[in-house]
Amino acid sequence: MNVLELEKVRKTYQKHVACDDISFDIEEGKIFGLLGPNGAGKTSLIRIITTITKADSGKILFNGEALNNTHPSKIGYMPEERGLYKKMKVGEQITYLARLKGFSKREAFEQLDYWLDKFDILDWRYKKVEELSKGMQQKIQFISTVIHNPKLLILDEPFSGLDPINTNLIRDEIYELNKKGTTILFSTHRMEQVEQICENIVLINKGKNVLEGQVSDIKDKFKEHIYKVDFVGKIPENIDEHANIVEEEENSIKVQLIDVGHANKFLNYLLSQGTLVTSFNEILPTLNEIFIKIVGGKSDE
């Protein structure tokens, strides 16, 4: 079952094409990464999914139904440009946002208690937002995003401006929500975060789908058959016939195999030449490397 299906979604602003026939599906219960450099069209796309704006053309299905005005109540959205009412009290603020999502007063209060208790911040309830530190405000922001138990949680650069402790805290919450069945759309331009968190990604650049799929598949597809070999002693003299040395250190080399399908043969060769191999690992490209390779270092930034 797909929570979200996009088919050839297109959006233009005057002459600028923000989304150029973007298509992808998000399977229920997954953590899905929406990647792209700044200005690639991520936020435009998210605003379409959250019904803030409308696509010019294309099809969007939420839970199998065409996207409509009832769906925002099932979506939790933390925009990149986010904030809170500074003069409002924490409790009022969160319940207000929950009620705008369609919660009754009672439901809102129940959920408020649950989350304040969970983050161990029950005593913040009557504090004004402006009295809180920035990190504390981010927690409140997160709570107000998820308070209505959304089916799909959209996080646009959720970790920007967070210190490492809060980053971990929020990341753990994301995992926990995901375990309970919330599907998560995670939008960022920071690849290392995606690698840690997401199972599936779509990469967009200049409004176009560039790459889509499971993180492990993508890495496999873009691998360059590079292996890291740790050893004791010497490497064979004629190793050049089998592999190109990419990097060489004392007791460790990185090689790119010439005969790409035969890592076993290469290992055998090393052993047969009397090299004492202590470890043999394939080095997969990072998403960052793949990203730069595809985008070519060129983005709108």
Binding site: I52, P79, G83, L97, L100
Partner: protein, 440 residues
């Protein structure tokens, strides 16, 4: 609709419970009252009665025959003392000064009459006037006796002229001049109130929109509600705050007025006596005031209030929606929007000046046409309403205003929905036009 209601509630409650709202709502009437009470005290202390010794060795004023001098501000004593002697010790007797009448003639041929005033302080102008008036009216009595005429004969010389405007249009009631006078004042007050409301509460809406934008909460909000609901909720919520404030003042002011009248009744009465006894020409004024009070009762207040409220709300909604659009278009920079707010302020100010002219001449063609034009009518029509404009004009004006209100809300909504998501770019009027026609 439910969500719009939530927004209205938040906008309303967050303002009404704010300390500044409570303070301005409470302090404004208190400030007025303090000002008023202070005024009463200043006035009554300024007119403190002075004791003055009047020396008339030549008996020019014929005090014993013609009666004592009458004056609200000065108490005259008539000690039988020598001027030189009194000069040295008049303060010991509690006199503020000595009024000395030099020996001279006082008869029907006297045109100027000289008196001397000795004292250690400067004599205030009001005291001077008061003394001059008292002596002058006393001299008049003496002269009248000499000429053998009395007040009743003099009164016969006076002819009071009353101008009664007769409107040839049969549908109109005859309007007395005092009614026109009262209507002008009422019209001006209502016009001024609406003018103030448009600026104060329109700006409040604008600031509130900007605050949400600079706080960056707006994108969170519009992922739950339509931008239009947000804008509408804001306009209605802030409008309700304005109505609340006016309702509170509407109740508190009369109560305080009565309270002060009761608490300071002594002082007020004293003041009133002073003004009536000291100035002889006041009798006519009092009559006028009585007529005005009577006229005030002759207006159909239910009708006036209803019409006033329609234009009050219509004007507010129309301009508040424009202010909302401007607020949405403004960036984080306050100064940026100044030129845009000016565009809104200009018609309001023009309407105000037209209103001033209309109060003078409520049935001129300027009055009729400007009260049809929806950007002016909320200010101009209330100025006319007390002059009973034709119902058909009133209806047309209301209908045009309402249609324009809906149109402006719609247009502003379109500008608003785009504007609130725009950051970092300076907005021009051209952008406004583009945004209006841009699709979602």
């Amino acid at each position: 609709m439910n969500k719009t209601w939530l927004i209205i509630k938040r906008e309303y409650l967050s303002r009404v419970t704010k300390r500044t709202f409570i303070l301005t709502t409470v302090l404004t009437p208190i400030g007025f009252i303090i000002f008023w009470v202070a005024l009463i005290f200043i006035m009554s202390s300024g007119v403190e009665k002075k004791k003055i010794a009047l020396l008339d060795p030549g008996n020019t004023l014929q005090i014993s025959e013609k009666g004592k001098l009458r004056d609200g501000m000065v108490i005259y004593n008539y000690p039988r003392k020598d001027l030189e002697e009194l000069k040295s010790n008049f303060e010991d007797y509690g006199y503020k000064g000595i009024l000395y009448i030099p020996d001279q003639n006082l008869d029907s041929a006297t045109l100027t009459f000289n008196i001397h005033y000795y004292s250690n302080d400067d004599i205030s102008i009001t005291t001077q006037e008061s003394i001059k008036k008292a002596i002058s009216s006393h001299a008049r009595k003496i002269k009248m006796d000499q000429l053998g005429i009395n007040e009743t004969i003099l009164d016969k010389l006076n002819t009071s002229v009353e101008l009664q405007p007769k409107n040839l249009d049969k549908s109109k009631e005859e309007v007395s001049s005092s009614r026109a006078y009262v209507a002008t004042a009422l019209g001006a007050i209502m016009m001024f109130l609406i003018y103030i409301v448009i600026f104060i509460y329109g700006n409040m809406v604008m600031r509130s929109v900007m605050e949400e934008k600079t706080n960056r909460i707006v994108e969170v909000l519009i992922s739950s509600v339509r931008p239009f609901q947000l804008m509408l909720g804001k306009i209605v919520g802030v409008g309700a705050v304005g109505l609340t404030q006016f309702a509170i003042w509407g109740i508190v002011f009369p109560l305080l007025y009565l309270g002060v009248g009761f608490l300071f009744s002594g002082k007020l009465q004293q003041l009133q006596e002073l003004t009536t006894t000291s100035t002889a020409s006041n009798a006519g004024d009092i009559e006028d005031i009585l007529v005005i009070i009577q006229e005030l009762g002759n207006f159909n207040y239910g009708y006036i209030l209803a019409i006033f409220l329609i234009f009050f709300l219509g004007g507010y909604v129309l301009y508040a929606s424009l202010f909302a659009a401007v607020g949405a278009a403004m960036g984080d920079d306050w100064g940026e929007g100044q030129s845009l707010t000016l565009v809104i302020a200009i018609p309001v100010i023009i309407a105000f000046y037209i209103g001033i002219a209309v109060v003078e001449n409520p049935n001129s063609s300027l009055a009729v046409w400007s009260s049809m034009f929806p950007l002016f009518s909320p200010i101009v029509m209330p100025a006319r309403i007390v002059f009973d404009p034709p119902v058909i004009q009133l209806l047309m004006s209301v209908v045009i205003l309402l249609i324009t209100c809906f149109f402006f809300i719609w247009i502003s909504g379109r500008i608003y929905r785009i504007g609130i998501l725009m950051y970092g770019k300076k907005t021009t009027l051209k952008d406004f036009a583009l945004w209006m026609f841009r699709k979602d």
